[in-house]
C-alpha cells in the first residue's frame, strides 16, 4: 500500500501509479468515483494535470456498475509529495500511498535545455570566487586574491594579496570592471585594481556580514542567496526556506526543495530564470538545475546537472553562473562555470 | 407486708411524688422560658441573615455594573482578549464567580471555570435588577452563590458575577453567644463560620425534612453521649424561583438549659431523697408508736386464739391505740369470765344431763325391778305356788334388769375412766379395714335390710401417731351409729384421705339424716336420737378425737343421711 518513490518520477507519474494501485482494490463491476483534495501549495493548473493523470487511469467502462468512492489527496511531507488514495467500500477503507520526490516537474522540461558545466580551476584551499578575463584569472580564496596568467596552457600564479578570512563557511565575491577590482569579504570590502597587479585597499563594510556566511543589506533581511527575476525576488533565508517576494517587497510564498544556493541568470536564453542547487547537507553531492518561478512555485526547466560534491559558492556571471564545489572524493575545491544550453 | 412497711412506703411515695411534681413543674416552666428565648434569638438571626444578603446583593450589583461598563468587557466581547480574561476582572472586583455572556447566555469568558467558554451558562439567569441565589457548577463540585446580572452598554453582552455563600458570610453575622449559623449547600457540604462541620450526618434528618416539606422545621441534635451537647436547630430553606438553593440552620446550644435542668433535677433528687429519709425516720418512729401496740394486740389475740384467755396487753398510751388495748383487755377478761361461767354452766348442764340420762337409763331397769318386787309381794300373799312361779319369773327378771343396770353403770364407768391415749404409729387404712371387717357380718345379717359397704381408702399407707384401740373404738361407734341410722338399709360409705398435715376419715350413711339442731347437740354426752343406746357413743368419739388433737364434724340433711368427718393430725407433739 505504500510505494517507494522512483527517482525522477513526476507527480503525474505518481498519480498514474497510484491509480493503478487503486484499481487493484476494485472488482470488475465496480467503477470508481474520485474526489480530489490538494493540501500542497501547488496551483490549480498543476493540480488539474495530476488529477487528469489519476482519473485517466481509473476510467473504465463496466456493466451493472457499482460506484465506489475514491478520495485522492495530494499531500506533502519533508521528503516530498505524498499521493494518497482512499478506497471506500461501505465502512471499510483501503489506503494506497505513493511518495514523489519534491523536485516537481509538472511541466516536462522543454526539449533541449541543458546545463553545461566546465571545470575552470581546482585547488586544495577553499575557493571563494573565480573571475576569468581573457588570459587572466583571479582566484579569491581564504588566503587572499591570486592572479593567474595563462601561459602555455597553464596558469601561473603571479601575485597574491592576503585577505584573511578565517570563518566557518567563508564566502567572498569578486567584481571586475575593466581593470578595477572589488573584493567583498565578510565585513570587509577591498577596492583597487587587478591589472597589471593586484592592488587593493580595504575598508570595513560589505554585503557579506562580518564573520558570517550571510548577505545583508539595509533593505533585505539576512540571507544566504538572492536572485531577482523580472517578477520576483527570491531570498534563501535563515529559516532554511526560499522566500518569494513580489516587486513591492511583499512576501508571497515560501518554497521548500531548493538548497541555499541559487542565482538568477542575467542574460541569454535563460534570462530571468534561476539556477538552483538541490538541498543537501554535509557532504552529499549537489546538483544544479534551471528553474522558472510560475505562480510563486518553482518549475524545473532542465535536468539536473550532477556535481562531484556540495556547492560551496554560487555566483552569477554573464550568461550563467560560477559554482565552487568541494569534491567529496578528493577533498579539493573545484570551480566550474555553469552555462545554460537552450538547445534548438 | 407490715403496716410499718406500708406506712413507710406511703410516706416515701408521698414525699417523692410531691418533690417530683414540683421538680417537673419547675423544669417544664424553665424549658418553656428557654424555648421562648431561643425562638426570639433564632428569628433575630434569620432576620440578620436576610439583611446581610440584601446588603451584599446591592454591593454585588454595584461591582458587576462596574465590570459591565468597563473597557475590558468590550475587549472580551470583540474577541481581542484571551478567553480567560474574565479572571482578572473578577479578581479586581473580589468576585468569586464571573461569567461574561452573549445575549443567548453562551459563555464568552468565565473567571471561575475558564474552560467552559462556548457553553451555555446554567445559573437560571433572569434579567432584572435584583440579586438572586444560584447554584454554581464547578470542576470540583458545586457552590451556592449570590449572583447579580448586568448588561454591557449596547446590550452586546451580559455580565453575571457573584460571591459565594460561604463561611465568611456566616462569620459576618453577629450571633449571640451559644448560637451559631450553619449553611447546607449540597450533600456532604455543610459549613459554619469556621468552615466544614464535623459529624454533619447528625443534621441529615432535619435537612431532609426541610427539603421534603419545603418549610421551616426544627429538631434537636445531640452531638455526643452527653445530653448537654444537645443543640436545637431551626432549618430555613433558601429558595430561588422555586428551587432549593440551600438550607440555613440556626442552632442554639442547649447546654445552659440542660445544665439548669440537671441542677433542678439534682436538687429535686436531693430534696426528695432527704425528704424520704426524714419521712422514713419519722415514719419509723411514728409507726413504732402505732404498730408496737398493735403488734401487742395481735400477739394477745393470738394468745387468746391459742387458748390463753388470760392474755393481756400493756396500755401505754391514752390515744386510740390505748383505748384499743384497754378494750382488748376488757374483752379477754370478759371472755375469761364468760368462759368460766360457760364452763360452769356446761358442767352443771352436763351434770344435769348426766343425771337425767342416768335417771332415764336407770329408770328402765328400776321399774321392772319395782314391779317384780311388788309382784313378789303380792304373790307371797297369795298362794305358795303362785309365789314360786312369780318368784322364779321375778328373779329372772330381776337378774336381767340388774345385769342391765350393771351394763349401764359399766358404760358410765368406762366413759369416766377412759385412759389417756398411748400414741404409736398406726396405719389408718389398716385400722379402718380391720374395724369394718368386724361389722361385715352384721351388715349382711339376715335380719337387716340390705346394707352395702363402700370403702374408699387412700392409696398406700396413712401412718399417723394414734392410740389404735381408742381410735378403733371411735370408729366402731361411728359405724354402729351409721348402721343404726339406716334401719331400712342403705349404703355405708367410709373414706380415708390424706391431708396436708393429717388424715381425714369420713363415715357416711344414707339414713334419716339430722336437723341442724340435732347436729349441734350431737356430741353432747347422752344426746342421742336413737331409740336405744346410752348416747355416749358420739361423746366417746369426740373424746377420742379431742385426745388425738383432732376435729370432728358432721354434715347432714334430713332424709339425706349424715357424714361424720374426723380429721386427725399426723403427729402428736414429738412423736412420729
Amino acid at each position: 500500500m505504500f510505494s517507494w518513490l522512483t527517482m525522477g518520477e513526476t507527480l503525474e507519474d505518481g498519480a498514474r501509479a497510484i491509480a493503478r494501485s487503486t484499481l487493484i482494490h476494485l472488482s470488475p463491476s465496480e467503477r470508481p468515483h474520485a474526489t480530489i483534495h490538494n493540501l500542497t501549495p501547488l496551483g490549480n493548473v498543476e493540480v488539474s494535470r495530476v488529477q487528469a493523470a489519476f482519473e485517466r487511469v481509473l476510467r473504465r467502462n463496466v456493466r451493472n456498475e457499482k460506484i465506489v468512492e475514491v478520495t485522492f489527496t495530494i499531500s506533502d511531507n519533508v521528503k516530498g509529495y505524498l499521493l494518497v488514495a482512499e478506497i471506500f467500500h461501505g465502512d471499510e477503507r483501503a489506503v494506497e500511498m505513493r511518495s514523489v520526490p519534491k523536485e516537481p516537474s509538472v511541466a516536462p522540461a522543454p526539449a533541449g535545455i541543458t546545463i553545461a558545466k566546465k571545470l575552470l580551476w581546482e585547488q586544495s584551499a577553499p575557493i571563494l570566487d573565480v573571475a576569468l578575463v581573457a588570459d587572466f584569472m583571479l582566484v579569491l580564496d581564504t588566503a587572499g586574491v591570486s592572479r593567474y596568467e595563462r601561459r602555455e596552457g597553464a596558469w601561473d600564479r603571479v601575485g597574491v594579496l592576503p585577505a584573511a578570512s578565517s570563518v566557518r563557511d567563508p564566502r567572498g565575491k569578486l567584481d571586475l570592471e575593466g581593470d578595477s577590482l572589488t573584493v567583498q569579504l565578510p565585513g570587509t570590502t577591498c577596492r583597487g585594481i587587478w591589472n597589471p597587479t593586484v592592488s587593493l585597499h580595504c575598508d570595513s563594510g560589505s554585503m557579506l556580514a562580518a564573520g558570517r556566511n550571510t548577505l545583508e543589506t539595509a533593505e533585505l533581511p539576512a540571507h544566504f542567496s538572492e536572485a531577482r527575476t523580472k517578477d520576483v525576488l527570491l531570498l534563501a533565508e535563515l529559516d532554511g526556506r526560499t522566500h518569494v517576494y513580489d516587486l513591492s517587497g511583499k512576501p508571497v510564498a515560501a518554497l521548500e526543495g531548493w538548497g541555499t544556493d541559487f542565482v538568477a541568470i542575467q542574460n541569454g536564453c535563460a534570462a530571468n530564470r534561476i539556477a538552483a542547487t538541490s538541498p543537501s547537507y554535509g557532504d552529499s553531492s549537489d546538483s544544479i538545475a534551471l528553474y522558472d518561478v510560475v505562480n510563486n512555485a518553482p518549475v524545473r526547466l532542465s535536468d539536473p546537472a550532477e556535481l562531484p560534491g556540495p556547492v560551496t559558492a554560487l555566483w552569477p556571471v554573464r550568461d550563467g553562473a560560477l559554482a565552487v564545489v568541494r569534491n567529496v572524493s578528493t577533498g579539493r575545491y573545484e570551480a566550474y562555470s555553469i552555462a545554460v544550453d537552450c538547445g534548438r | 407486708m407490715t403496716f410499718r412497711t406500708k406506712l413507710l412506703l406511703l410516706t416515701s411515695l408521698t414525699v417523692a411524688g410531691a418533690v417530683a411534681l414540683v421538680t417537673g413543674a419547675v423544669a417544664v416552666s424553665t424549658r418553656r422560658a428557654f424555648e421562648r428565648l431561643d425562638v426570639a434569638r433564632r428569628e433575630a438571626l434569620l432576620e440578620q441573615f436576610r439583611r446581610e444578603l440584601d446588603a451584599r446583593g446591592e454591593e454585588l450589583s454595584r461591582r458587576v455594573e462596574q465590570i459591565a461598563s468597563s473597557a475590558a468587557i468590550e475587549q472580551i466581547t470583540s474577541g481581542a482578549a484571551e478567553y480567560d480574561r474574565a479572571q482578572a476582572e473578577a479578581q479586581e472586583q473580589s468576585l468569586d464567580f464571573l461569567d461574561v455572556l452573549q445575549p443567548d447566555l453562551t459563555i464568552i469568558s468565565s473567571a471561575h471555570w475558564p474552560a467552559r467558554f462556548g457553553y451555555k451558562n446554567d445559573w437560571n439567569i433572569a434579567t432584572g435588577t435584583k440579586s438572586f441565589l444560584a447554584r454554581i457548577t464547578l470542576p470540583e463540585g458545586n457552590a451556592v452563590a449570590l449572583i447579580s446580572v448586568r448588561s454591557s452598554p449596547g446590550g452586546k453582552a451580559l455580565v453575571a458575577g457573584g460571591r459565594s455563600l460561604n463561611a465568611e458570610l456566616l462569620k459576618s453575622l453577629g450571633i449571640a453567644p451559644g448560637m451559631r449559623a450553619l449553611l447546607w449547600r449540597a450533600p456532604d457540604d455543610l459549613i459554619d463560620a469556621q468552615g466544614a462541620v464535623q459529624h454533619a450526618d447528625k443534621l441529615e434528618p432535619l435537612i431532609a425534612q426541610v427539603k421534603a416539606s419545603r418549610h421551616e422545621s426544627t429538631a434537636t441534635v445531640q452531638w455526643t453521649k452527653q445530653r448537654s451537647s444537645s443543640e436545637a436547630f431551626l432549618g430555613l430553606p433558601l429558595f430561588e424561583r422555586g428551587q432549593l438553593m440551600g438550607v440555613l440552620l440556626a442552632g442554639t446550644s442547649l447546654r445552659e438549659e440542660m445544665d439548669l435542668e440537671n441542677a433542678i433535677l439534682w436538687i429535686g433528687i436531693m430534696v426528695g431523697g432527704s425528704g424520704i429519709a426524714i419521712g422514713i425516720l419519722l415514719g419509723w418512729w411514728t409507726t413504732r408508736r402505732v404498730t408496737h401496740p398493735v403488734e401487742q394486740l395481735a400477739a394477745g389475740a393470738r394468745s387468746v386464739a391459742a387458748g390463753d384467755w388470760s392474755a393481756r396487753v400493756e396500755v401505754v398510751s391514752h390515744d386510740e391505740i390505748g383505748e384499743l388495748a384497754q378494750a382488748f383487755n376488757q374483752m379477754t377478761q370478759h371472755l375469761v369470765e364468760q368462759r368460766d361461767r360457760a364452763i360452769q354452766a356446761e358442767r352443771v348442764a352436763a351434770w344435769r344431763e348426766l343425771a337425767r340420762r342416768l335417771a332415764h337409763e336407770l329408770k328402765n331397769p328400776l321399774f321392772p325391778l319395782q314391779i317384780t318386787i311388788e309382784n313378789l309381794q303380792r304373790a307371797r300373799e297369795r298362794s305358795a305356788e303362785e309365789f314360786d312361779e312369780v318368784f322364779r319369773e321375778g328373779t329372772t327378771t330381776l337378774l336381767a334388769e340388774l345385769s342391765n343396770l350393771k351394763t349401764i353403770v359399766g358404760r358410765f364407768s368406762d366413759f369416766a375412766k377412759m385412759p389417756a391415749p398411748q400414741f404409736e404409729r398406726v396405719d389408718v387404712n389398716e385400722l379402718v379395714r380391720g374395724a369394718l371387717k368386724l361389722y361385715d357380718a352384721r351388715l349382711h345379717a339376715d335380719d337387716r335390710a340390705p346394707t352395702s359397704l363402700r370403702l374408699e381408702l387412700a392409696d398406700g399407707e396413712l401412718p399417723i401417731a394414734a392410740d389404735s384401740d381408742q381410735l378403733r373404738r371411735a370408729l366402731s361407734n361411728l359405724v354402729l351409729n351409721a348402721m343404726d341410722a339406716m334401719p331400712d338399709g342403705g349404703t355405708l360409705h367410709v373414706v380415708t384421705a390424706k391431708m396436708d398435715d393429717g388424715v381425714r376419715i369420713s363415715v357416711a350413711d344414707t339414713g334419716l339424716g339430722l336437723t341442724p339442731e340435732e347436729c349441734e347437740r350431737l356430741f353432747t354426752p347422752y344426746y342421742t336420737t336413737k331409740h336405744h343406746g346410752t348416747g355416749l357413743g358420739l361423746a366417746i368419739v369426740q373424746s377420742v378425737v379431742s385426745d388425738h388433737h383432732g376435729k370432728i364434724s358432721v354434715v347432714s340433711e334430713p332424709g339425706r343421711g349424715s357424714t361424720f368427718i374426723i380429721e386427725l393430725p399426723l403427729k402428736q407433739g414429738e412423736q412420729i
Binding site: L39, N77, V95, A210, P221, Y281 | E140
Partner: protein, 389 residues
C-alpha cells in the same frame, strides 16, 4: 540558553525518555553519528562518508571520514579507516538506527569524561543544573561561529522570560500562547514546524473500549486550538504532523457528542491527570474535562495514578519511523511491526489508547542578535542586530 528540561547527562547511551526533545537538540552538537538525517529526513553522510555492503548484503562497511578530530585534538581513526557492521536488515533500518543519538561516536577518556567529534565540546557539566559547551576548534566541517554556549537547565518558563528580559539569556523557551505577547514586547520569536503533539494517553488498560471512543468523540479540537492555543497549532487525530508524515488527514477527528453519549452510558468516572503547573496542559485539560462532561464522561482530577493522562509527545526526528519509535518508547509501548509508517501509526492509534489532539510548534524567544537558531552549529550572534519582528 535556558531550558525547562533538567538533563542528567549528555551521554548518548543514556536513555532518558523524559528529556527527548532537549537531548535531540543538544547531543548532535557534541556527539556525531556515522549517518545523520537531513532537513528532509533523508540519511546523509556524517562521520561516515559512504557505505557499501558485501555480496550477501549481510555486512556493511562504513568508510570513516578522514581528518576528524576528537575534542581533545586526537585523530579519530577507526581501524582500517572503516567501521564494519554485520547486519542483514534493510539499509533504511540500519541507517535509521545509526542516526540515533545512541549510535553516536563517543570516546570515554580515562578521567571519565566523554569525547565526541561534534562542533562543540563539553567544558562543564553540572547534572540537571548547568552546562557549558565550547567551540571545537578542529571541527571537521569548520569551527562554529559561537565560541561557547552556556546552558541553564530546569528553569521555569517564567524565569526564562525574566532572564531574557534582563539579558541573562539569549534564548528562552516560549509557550505557543505567549508568542504574540513576547513579539509585542519586541522579542524575536523562532518557530519550528509542529514538533509536539498534545495527546490523551490511557494508562489504565481496563478502561472499556467504548469509553475511550466516547472520550475521543467528545473532544472539540478546533476550539482548543483556536481559543486556548490561539490558532498556533494544528488540530489532528494523528500522532505525526502532516509536514512530517504527509498522511495525517487519514486519521479523521470528528466530534460527535450524541454518539459519545451513547457510548458512555453508565461509564464509570475516570481519574484524569496532567501537569497543572504547565500553562498549556492546564487549560487544555480543563477544557477536555468540560467536553467530556457534555458527553456524560466524568473526568476526576488526579495527582497520582490515573486512568488517562494528558501529555505532550515530542517529535524527535525528521524521520517518521524514529519519531514513532520514540513516542512508543516514551509511552512504554512496543512499536508494532508494520510495513509502513502509516500502518505503524494506525496500529498505535488503534483502539483509542492514544488520542492525539493538536500538533504544536516549538517556540523560542531569542534576543535580538541571535541568528540561525536552532541549528546550534550554525548559530551566530549579530553584534548589531536589527530586530525583525
Amino acid at each position: 540558553m535556558e531550558m525547562r528540561a533538567a538533563l542528567r547527562t549528555l551521554d548518548p547511551a543514556d536513555s532518558d525518555i523524559l528529556a527527548l526533545e532537549a537531548r535531540a537538540q543538544l547531543i548532535p552538537a557534541v556527539f556525531e553519528t556515522l549517518v545523520r538525517f537531513d532537513e528532509r529526513g533523508e540519511p546523509q553522510p556524517c562521520l561516515a562518508t559512504s557505505w557499501s555492503h558485501d555480496a550477501a548484503r549481510k555486512r556493511w562497511v562504513f568508510t570513516a571520514r578522514p581528518n576528524v578530530l576528537l575534542h581533545n585534538g586526537t585523530q579519530w581513526s577507526p581501524k582500517g579507516g572503516a567501521i564494519e557492521l554485520p547486519d542483514d536488515r534493510p539499509l533504511a533500518a540500519i541507517l535509521r538506527e545509526l542516526a540515533q543519538p545512541a549510535g553516536a561516536i563517543v570516546v570515554r577518556a580515562d578521567d571519565g569524561s566523554l569525547l565526541g567529534t561534534g562542533p562543540f565540546r563539553i567544558a562543564h557539566w553540572e547534572a540537571e543544573k548547568s552546562a557549558r559547551l565550547v567551540a571545537h576548534d578542529g571541527y571537521w566541517a569548520g569551527r562554529p561561529f559561537l565560541d561557547s554556549i552556556e546552558i541553564r537547565m530546569g528553569r521555569s518558563l517564567r524565569d526564562q522570560e525574566m532572564d531574557l528580559e534582563s539579558g541573562k539569556t539569549d534564548i528562552a523557551e516560549v509557550l505557543v500562547t505567549d508568542g504574540r505577547r513576547l513579539r509585542q514586547k519586541g522579542f524575536a520569536i523562532s518557530i519550528t514546524p509542529f514538533m509536539e503533539t498534545l495527546a490523551l494517553v490511557f494508562e489504565n488498560p481496563r478502561v472499556p473500549d467504548a469509553t475511550r471512543e466516547a472520550l475521543a468523540l467528545s473532544i472539540d479540537r478546533a476550539t482548543i486550538n483556536n481559543v486556548l492555543l490561539q490558532k498556533q497549532g494544528e488540530p489532528s487525530a494523528a500522532l505525526l504532523p502532516r509536514w512530517l508524515s504527509g498522511y495525517s488527514f487519514l486519521f479523521p477527528a470528528p466530534r460527535n457528542v450524541a454518539r459519545a453519549k451513547q457510548l458512555s452510558a453508565s461509564a464509570a468516572p475516570l481519574a484524569f491527570a496532567y501537569d497543572r503547573q504547565d500553562a498549556i496542559l492546564r487549560p487544555v485539560g480543563e477544557r477536555i474535562a468540560v467536553n467530556a462532561s457534555e458527553a456524560g464522561i466524568v473526568l476526576k482530577s488526579s495527582t497520582g495514578p490515573a486512568d488517562v493522562r494528558l501529555l505532550c509527545l515530542p517529535i524527535t526526528s525528521r524521520d517518521s519511523w524514529t519519531s514513532l519509535a520514540d513516542v512508543a518508547a516514551m509511552l512504554k509501548l512496543g512499536l508494532p511491526r508494520a510495513s509502513s509508517e502509516f500502518e505503524a501509526e494506525s496500529a498505535l492509534l488503534n483502539g483509542y489508547r492514544i488520542i492525539p489532539l493538536v500538533h504544536l510548534p516549538r517556540m523560542w524567544a531569542i534576543s535580538g542578535g541571535v541568528r540561525n537558531w536552532p541549528r546550534l552549529a550554525d548559530v551566530w550572534l549579530d553584534p548589531d542586530p536589527k530586530v525583525k519582528p
